[in-house]
Symmetry: C2
Amino acid sequence: MPDIYQELIKLAEGDMYPFHMPGHKRNLQSTPLKGAFRCDITEIDGFDNLHDEKGIILEAEKRANRLYGADETFFLVNGSTSGVLSAVSAAAPEGGNILAARGSHKSFYHAAYLRNLEIEYLEPRMIGAYGIFDSYNAEDVKRAIGNVRVKPDAVFITSPTYEGKCSDIEGIAKVCHDEGIILIVDEAHGSHFGFGDGLPESAVKCGADIVIHSLHKTLPAMTQTALIHVQGDLVDKALLKRFLRIYQSSSPSYVLMSSIDLCMKEMQDKRKEFSERLTGYRKKILDETRGCSILKVPDLSELEDPAKVLIYADTDQMTGQQLYDILREDYLLQLEMAGEHYALAIITGWDTEEGIDRLIKAVCEIDECLQKKPGAKVDAIEKRYSIPKREMSLQKAWDSEHETVSLNMAEGRISGDFINLYPPGIPLVVPGEIIGGDLIKDIERYLAENLNVQGIFEVENSENKGIIDISKRGIICVKQK
Amino acid sequence: MPDIYQELIKLAEGDMYPFHMPGHKRNLQSTPLKGAFRCDITEIDGFDNLHDEKGIILEAEKRANRLYGADETFFLVNGSTSGVLSAVSAAAPEGGNILAARGSHKSFYHAAYLRNLEIEYLEPRMIGAYGIFDSYNAEDVKRAIGNVRVKPDAVFITSPTYEGKCSDIEGIAKVCHDEGIILIVDEAHGSHFGFGDGLPESAVKCGADIVIHSLHKTLPAMTQTALIHVQGDLVDKALLKRFLRIYQSSSPSYVLMSSIDLCMKEMQDKRKEFSERLTGYRKKILDETRGCSILKVPDLSELEDPAKVLIYADTDQMTGQQLYDILREDYLLQLEMAGEHYALAIITGWDTEEGIDRLIKAVCEIDECLQKKPGAKVDAIEKRYSIPKREMSLQKAWDSEHETVSLNMAEGRISGDFINLYPPGIPLVVPGEIIGGDLIKDIERYLAENLNVQGIFEVENSENKGIIDISKRGIICVKQK
């Protein structure tokens, strides 16, 4: 069975002349992006239609499906974003209820906004040392379902997290299914799960009803490609397909689709080789940085996903951002992100031995440097995270008339927009929630620490050596009558 | 100022090692799609962020903006689909009102569904000879605004149509603005407008508030790339940006974005050359097929967009599909689509002289063949198109419980899904509308003519030489209590 790419190349090498879209007519004179244009077509005869697949796209989706083993698998060309929007929209009716972790991806909040859902949250818990969200087990979810006012239509869990924490999806699925509740797992960061020894099991195998995979994050597929898997009887599959049609382009890119297909074929053939290389790289990094005394790489017992290498700087002499900057500027190593006290690297089976060695060498050298400097360990303050009280639905509050209110005047007001702390990307407040005095103090502290708090506007330039004048910082509130 | 592509190549040729997404690590061993992988990155330092652009993406958007001249221009990586969803969502509040042409793209209906809008329609009018929707003038829109129950929040016009009909956007914009109504123009098929002599003026220049351009349709950009332009004071630009963030991947493809940027730079430098080649090709086709007596190519006075070459078979001996199939199978010319009596070719400035000559030769030869056969002219029946009465909102009906009802029992029932006739892609009925006896007769006739009616299900295989047993065909209706 030829793959999509082989069919595209056959077309490119044949004599069929294109009197159809795209406008570049596969004319390679018209771009330096020659390889991409060569395979870039529209839905012509023989090339199927993503939104009503019956031919080569359906075959490719079935190949992907066989790798993961759900009932059905669909290609996504608008990223996991379109998968999360579709999953949530299909799982909960307009005005329905959903239970989720607070640290969910923004597409989750967007879906809840579009469907006017009422969100209840799992109790947020953080791993104090690293300042990242912890995972959930079956008991956490059971307790939360018992505590909510209205039985949720769906539970939404992100596993692994950005930093590699995995929840007990099998246990959570059982709890959900006992209550007839749909379990959606945003496994965007775990497309490689289940592909070999040393990798966690995939949420599909653990029984989640809908699972979303960002292929580009850890597998060899182009950015913006993803998969959505569905199984069991709880999800209305026709409704899921409706939303996939709504949230994705009616002109999906064949370059992106063939990249998904090539990735799946490669994983079919080489997933063992891939996972051995990945886990081998991870082990090598752990082994060779074990001697470091200030920089620490948590092992798989702490962060279960081997693709995530968190490099923690246990010293008040260096922030995560500084570590990230040194790796980038002095060692030409571009990491994925920086946290308050850590920098995060993503490794996959397509890294090179040379790249891994450069990372190890850099970490050891920086650690040696840090040892020579005087410094104290980071205070392992247990981070608290409390969710503000909701006064109005997300949709109503975000759609209301707004006004900018200075931070020192905002206590008790209803938020009209999101305020997010990056990293790790936690919404401090969601539209419709009440802004409390504690939250204002937290924001003030984050601003003084020069952290990135999105949703705060400078009313006037008032920065002065870390002293923040909150009367000069504004936030969006629902307008008072 | 370097473009996005140049920056990507600089990165690819440099020594910076990627410990970030995508998982392929720009490792060209991992794919035959080498050119694409080489430039495929995520939002790393120096590469900006589509959803909060401040650097090279903002610069690229400004380049695009200068070409069209709106207040602001945004890149779209989820096609015009995401542009239409965002435009409609930003222009009308939840539960608002919109006035539109019936033949609008499905993303328009999807947006109306998501925002629970009440849709009023412009009076549908068809060009009888070709069986395609006609364009609109200012008077049509003025009359419609005067006739509707509630003043619409926005007017939504598709111009050019798929087949190349252009509406009087300047006049319509004046009518809308006199009433304080937002005008959205779906100019997906007209990204090349305004780029030279012989091309219609762009809707941006004509004063529309929001204009959506599918770059890939007629310009040298990859499939799934598009632009949205906004201008004037009627549209809440922050709200538009909110919806662009909602409906598009949070991992947008740099390959797609650099393709948009390269396309814009090329049009900046060569739009005159491009438009001269396009209009020259169009003239050549018209001139050299003028002698045909059965196949006819309407000129620019009938279909104003030179990129659309409609080849009309004025004979009962050949359907549009047959013409399309002969061109494809005997001449290796792949056209864009087939209508009842025509086939439609798209030409652009990137066609080759050789390709255009092959099309002309094919049309002349087929015409010669047809002359030798006995046949009658097509009856130029004036097609009527009436819009069914609405009983329930689109959102409510599509979200209701449904049941499949056989066509002969469906009269008077409320439709639970779309029924579309392809081509030209007209919704015969929209969820919430009442299925009338005339509509059932029309569908029966379309099925007998073997046309593609989407949304009709075969209850049992009952095809028998064109005799359609409508008791064996089912449609989705809102479930009766």
